[in-house]
């Protein structure tokens, strides 16, 4: 049994107003509390300049480590370098950054470690769900694929989808508009409704970035009020957060593929604890092996299995219990 | 559009003029050669040729719409001729912008003040000409000040070079504009109505400056409506009428009557002999010309207070009730008014005389509620009143025709009709309880007023900013006639309008008084006050220093009071 020193962790949030960000941050705080750590946070507000200012603030606080949930290193490179120079370990959690790689960056990497969700696998599983649904529809099936190339996880999700659809000759991607990050909802409504008019045979609207799904939902509702698949197109997206859950239970969103992205936060806390207590380096793997358990098992959430009360789906593997027990075994806890 | 200047590729204008001009031999003659210009359907200039020499003072005269402005604009590079050339020392040049003109030595000082109020005098003088630099980048402030002081000295202006331009009076600002021309090494100054709203003293100073510049070899084109000025100052007079130069004579060969005759054209000579009164309605836009005594001109049946030229000489006992009394008022913009008192009666025309800056405008603005006095009282029909805003003044029956017609009098973005009905709009309601004007009735009222005042425009829809100054002034007056008021205040009503429009204006003022209204008139042209007012209050340095009535109302008495002479006839008011 070793003791874990009382640490202070700086936490840079991407956008505090975002539901996923809240999930990750709250989980991190919950995990840190088990170890008796203090978390100092700063809200990046989704804006690079605010994120940079946050980095400076956090660094001047001399934390034992700085964690962020989902900010690509290019946005805050200067701050990361400054922290590195000050000897502060840097950890990234959230979506995949480099396509097909096991480390978070294929090239220069300013982060000391990164723990991410399997976005490519999520794309594959959601695409398989789509293929299964479309099997009963005859003829060529059109897909509108709203992409989000700004984020690497957006690119990776589409790579997964395309790997599945390329084997389906009768499913065709007819349009790939990009989500406009300055005008997520209203812009998506405009774009999707114009494209639905143009491609009346559309059977699938694929929303890569879940932040725009309510815009697409409005467009489909306006055009196909009261109709369901196969008369109306399927609307599929990522992550079953409460708003998406509500849209699923209303039948507006057909399916959302989900993983427990909060598990990233627990893994990050565990890796940091090992590093502080035992001076062992953090795992270079984006999803380290914990006795073969898969914390990131994907689930396709539909009307059939949407959680009651629009909660976030329960984890197939309970990482909270697992890590709490693990730490009680390994460390002298306060 | 044929551009004959392009045939000759000489183009002397350069950028970086200040440096450039110094290297060139100073130009001697500037000539317009067959300039023509039309705007849409109207010919503004037809084949105009005239030569101006450095060191010579030339008067450029003509009625509104005679083409003076267009000629100035072309010489100054603000607009381009359809045909014709500009010659400098006999060589054709191309003047495509005011910048080009300045580089050639032609500086135009416009009627409107064109200084940046927040910048210092020095910065204004050198604006766009290039400031002296330190280390290639920073403005050399001391050198700038010295160079400016030198030029200010030449125009006889005694202000600090680093004073804010906005803090200066109108006359001083105009001199700064002239200084700007000198800073650019101008050889020909074109002064457009430079003495407008100047006092006689200021005019004298301006003339001195122009003369001393002429001695230095700087020529001046002096544009003015004031015949006296032209006769006193210039060596030669160029007369324009209907877009053409109709005459050009040595000033010494002219007298007042001859010059007025030339300006107005022979046919109207007799009428103009009695300048100012009983004139016909004659257009101030060259488009349409109405005959004397035509329908539009007829004063709608109301009797005129006085038939012609003579001053309104009525026995003092005839005047009506006291309409407005002002007692020891102090305040106003910049606290310009120190202690002003006056009384005006129904049916009376009261003049306010005074030099610019004596607080005349500031006083009437307080009467109209624009600013609040901090001392003294305003008594309206025997009751002491507080006038908190122009709106309150209007409700109490006071109307003001402000000095600055384009910025304060008329709404340039509105049509003639909408301007006329603006203060009285609520009287055109379809139903008294609903703020909904009956447009037909409103339109008819506007048309009737246009006819009564003889506004030359095709209809109430005409935009006011397309009208001449005189017609704009009529519209501003007309809006108060439609609203009706008990006290009418006219601040410099004749500024920038031609002789006929002036005559019309004062006839209208006389009619107002005859119908029992109290009228206050401010004017810098004391002859106007002498001619038209029953009584005159003179202001000096914020105080009402004297009152002249009946036979005492004369230009010389007013001047004497203005300059603080110990005149036995003056007596304190109130």
């Amino acid at each position: 049994m070793v003791s874990v020193p009382p640490e202070t962790i700086g936490y840079l949030r991407y956008v505090a107003a975002d539901y996923s960000d809240g999930l990750m941050y709250n989980s991190f705080v919950q995990a840190a509390k088990v170890l008796g750590w203090k978390v100092v946070s700063c809200d990046g507000q989704g804006t690079p300049s605010v994120m940079a200012a946050c980095m400076s603030t956090l660094i001047s606080d001399h934390p034992n480590a700085i964690v962020n949930d989902g900010i690509p290193q290019s946005l805050i490179a200067a701050g990361l370098q400054q922290a590195k120079a000050a000897g502060i370990p840097l950890v990234y959690t959230s979506g995949t950054l480099a396509p097909g790689s096991t480390s978070i960056y294929s090239g220069t990497n300013l982060y000391d470690a990164g723990f991410t969700t399997p976005d490519q696998q999520m794309g594959v599983d959601l695409a398989n769900y789509v293929v299964k649904q479309l099997a009963s529809v005859p003829g060529t099936k059109d897909v509108i694929d709203q992409t989000f190339p700004v984020a690497e996880w957006g690119v990776v999700r589409n790579i997964g989808m395309e790997s599945v659809l390329s084997g389906q000759p009768d499913i065709k991607i007819v349009a790939s508009p990009q989500a406009n990050s300055a005008n997520l909802v209203q812009g998506t409504t405009t774009t999707i409704s114009a494209l639905l008019s143009q491609y009346p045979k559309t059977k699938v609207v694929w929303i890569t970035f879940d932040g725009t799904v309510s815009g697409a939902a409005q467009a489909i509702q306006a055009k196909y009020a009261g109709q369901t698949f196969p008369n109306a197109p399927l609307l599929v997206t990522f992550y079953a957060d409460p708003q998406t859950d509500q849209l699923i239970s209303q039948g507006v969103v057909s399916a959302a593929v989900n993983v427990q992205l909060q598990a990233c936060s627990w893994i990050a806390v565990d890796q940091l604890a090992q590093y502080f207590a035992r001076k062992t380096p953090m795992s270079p793997d984006v999803r380290p092996n914990y006795s073969g358990l898969n914390f990131f098992q994907t689930q396709v959430i539909t009307k059939a299995n949407v959680p009651a009360g629009n909660a976030f789906p329960a984890p197939p593997v309970n990482y909270v219990t697992y890590f709490t027990a693990k730490w009680h075994d390994e460390f002298k806890l306060p | 559009m044929p551009d004959s200047t392009s045939a000759s590729p000489v183009h002397r204008a350069h950028h970086g003029m200040a440096a450039h001009v110094g290297r060139r031999q100073p130009a001697e003659t500037f000539a317009a050669d067959g300039l023509s210009k039309r705007y849409g359907g109207v010919i503004a200039l037809r084949d105009v040729s005239a030569t101006f020499r450095s060191g010579q003072i030339v008067g450029l005269v003509g009625k509104n719409g005679a083409g003076k402005s267009t000629l100035i604009k072309i010489l100054g590079g603000a607009t381009h001729p359809d045909r014709g050339r500009i010659l400098v020392d006999g060589e054709p040049v191309r003047v495509r912008s005011p910048h080009d003109a300045l580089a050639l030595g032609i500086a135009v000082v416009h009627q409107e003040l064109a200084l940046v109020p927040g910048l210092s005098v020095a910065e204004n003088v050198w604006l766009g000409l290039g400031y002296p630099r330190v280390a290639a980048l920073l403005v050399a402030r001391s050198s700038l000040r010295e160079r400016t002081a030198e030029i200010l000295d030449r125009v006889g202006l005694r202000v600090r070079a680093d004073a804010a331009a906005g803090s200066l009076g109108i006359a001083a600002q105009r001199l700064v504009m002239i200084a700007r021309g000198l800073a650019a090494h101008a050889r020909l100054l074109i002064l457009d109505e430079p003495s407008a709203s100047f006092t006689d003293e200021e005019i004298g100073m301006l003339h001195q400056v122009v003369r001393s510049l002429a001695a230095d070899g700087v020529g001046t084109v002096y544009v003015s409506h004031r015949v006296t000025e032209i006769l006193a100052l210039t060596e030669r007079v160029v007369v324009m009428r209907d877009g053409a130069v109709v005459d050009e004579r040595a000033t010494s060969s002219l007298d007042r009557q001859a010059l007025v005759g030339m300006i107005s054209g022979g046919a109207e000579e007799e009428l103009l002999a009695e300048v100012g009164m009983a004139g016909p309605v004659v257009p101030d836009r060259s488009g349409v010309v109405a005959a004397p005594g035509s329908g539009a001109a007829a004063p709608s049946g109301k009797p005129s207070a006085n038939g012609s030229g003579a001053r309104p000489g009525w026995p003092h006992s005839d005047r009506g009730q006291e309409a407005l009394r002002v007692e020891h008022l102090a305040g106003g913009r910049d606290n310009r008014v120190v202690d002003a008192s006056l009384v005006v009666h129904e049916g009376e025309i009261l003049g306010i005389a005074g030099l610019v800056g004596s607080g005349r405008t500031e006083l009437v603005r307080m009467l109209f509620g624009c600013e609040q006095p901090w001392k003294g009282s305003i008594v309206l029909r025997g009751r002491k009143v507080h006038i908190g805003s122009p709106r309150a003044a209007v409700h109490r029956g006071i109307a003001l025709v402000p000095e600055d017609r384009r910025n304060e009098g008329a709404l340039l973005s509105f049509s003639v009709g909408y301007n006329l009905t603006l203060p009285s709009l609520s009287s055109f309601r379809r139903w008294p309880w609903l703020a909904w004007p009956a447009r037909g009735r409103e339109r008819r009222a506007a048309e009737a007023m246009m006819a009564e005042l003889g506004v030359v425009a095709s209809g109430p829809e005409t935009a006011v900013d397309t009208l001449s100054g005189g017609n704009q002034q009529k519209v501003v007056v007309g809006k108060w006639l439609l609203r009706d008021a008990d006290v009418f205040i006219f601040d410099e009503p004749s500024i920038g309008i031609d002789v006929h429009a002036k005559a019309e204006m004062f006839r209208r003022i006389a009619m107002l008084a005859a119908s029992g209204k109290a009228v206050i008139v401010i004017s810098s042209e004391f002859e106007e006050l002498e001619e038209h007012c029953h009584r005159v209050v003179v202001m000096r340095e914020g105080r009402s220093v004297g009152e002249l009535a009946d036979e005492e109302v004369s230009e010389s008495n007013m001047l004497a009071l203005c300059y603080g002479d110990d005149d036995p006839r003056h007596r304190r008011v109130g």
Binding site: A182 | G287, N407, E461
Partner: protein, 377 residues
């Protein structure tokens, strides 16, 4: 035109100032910018030289409408089976409704000669406040609406007081107010997306299909437009507002209560923003944080586009509404051509610049033609 101008040189021989109107004058009167509102009696010019002016006259009054018709016709010909469909046209109108209401409110402020940068945040806060009342505090939808409108009223009054009565810069005050309202929005919504417990009646405001299967929003926007048009063009208050915007100094010296009209402008803009916010959240069924930001600049674009139509350079409701629809048509049409978002933004910006350019250049051309001698010497 030479004939028309020949009367210029003649002496005082015309029969009568009004009767003896020359062709030139008719041209000038017809084409002159008359007022802030459409000139009813604008006489079409009748001469050869006037042809150019008449063309401008038509462009100035109907240019934007013509551009809209051309755009619709062009997209319809290019994509007949998808653009020129009832469904697509309904979509375009539905998507234009809330932006139109916002832009109409903005038009009132612009008419009075002010500027309001807080309307985007006001839209967001209006929608969020209403949804938060139902979602977080469980009130009825009527209460939620009233609360949202009161919030708008307060923000508008504060803007108006600071700007009209305390003479602060409208640019700075409304910029600051926009930031404040955004902050209030975050607090009111607890920094999260609100979507639960929204009353069905509330959602109907944004979703209900009415006559001809047209979304209720479209009729609400139409109603707002008609009321605003009548208000600005036909009532005394509207005339006074145009007067204040034309020259507040001259308006004041004509006895108008200038400050009151400026205050009213900000209040009306804020209320319109709240109504737009309610429709946006009703349609989306959720209030997301910073909802209003994407709506601010398009509202300005539409209002300025509107100056190129109906009223020759003046802000006006009809022009603004056509401007909003025009921008929606362009966005929808270009999307159907598979043109990416970036290019749609570029095209919309370019259209705005060209519209203002054409209308300004044209107006200067006419101004040069109608002002031959004014202000001479």
């Amino acid at each position: 035109m030479v004939d028309g101008s020949s009367s210029v040189a003649t002496g005082p021989s015309g029969p009568e100032a009004h009767g003896g109107r020359s062709d030139a004058e008719a041209v000038l009167a017809g084409a002159g910018r008359s007022t802030g509102s459409p000139s009813p009696g604008g006489r079409p010019p009748a001469t050869r030289q006037g042809a150019r002016l008449r063309l401008y006259h038509i462009m100035a009054h109907y240019g934007l409408l013509i551009a809209l018709i051309v755009a619709v016709a062009g997209f319809s010909l290019a994509r007949p089976s998808s653009f020129w469909t009832v469904g697509n046209l309904q979509d375009i109108l539905t998507q234009s409704a809330a932006p139109a209401i916002l832009a109409i409110g903005l038009t009132v402020v612009l008419v009075v000669g002010d500027f309001d940068l807080s309307i985007g945040s006001m839209l967001g806060l209006g929608g969020s406040a209403a949804v938060a009342m139902m979602s977080l505090h469980g009130t009825d939808w009527e209460v939620a609406l009233i609360v949202a409108l009161v919030v708008g009223l307060i923000a508008g009054v504060v803007n108006g007081l600071l700007i009209a009565y305390f003479k602060m810069s409208s640019f700075i005050v409304t910029l600051a107010m926009g930031t404040i309202l955004l902050g209030v929005n975050f607090l009111v919504a607890g920094n999260q997306t609100l979507f639960s417990n929204i009353a069905p009646v509330y959602l109907d405001f944004g979703r209900l299909r009415t006559v001809g299967n047209i979304n209720l929003q479209v009729f609400i926007a139409l109603g707002v437009a008609i009321v605003a048009w009548v208000f600005l063009e036909r009532t005394e208050t509207g005339r006074y507002m145009y007067a204040v915007g034309g020259n507040s100094n001259a308006a004041r010296l004509s006895g108008l209560a200038v400050q009151r009209y400026r205050l009213a402008g900000f209040v009306l803009a804020a209320i319109a923003a709240v109504v737009a916010g309610v429709l946006v959240t009703a349609q989306g069924g959720a209030a997301i944080p910073n909802l209003g930001a994407p709506y601010l600049l398009p509202a300005y674009a539409a209002a300025f586009l509107g100056t190129a139509g109906f009223s020759e350079g003046a802000f006006n409701v009809a022009g603004t509404v056509v401007g909003v629809i025009f921008l929606s048509v362009i966005a929808a049409g270009l999307t159907m051509f598979g043109i990416s978002t970036g290019w749609i933004d570029i095209v919309q910006g370019a259209i705005l610049i060209s519209a203002i350019l054409v209308s300004d250049v044209g107006r200067r051309m006419v101004a040069a033609a109608v002002r031959p001698t004014a202000g001479a010497g």
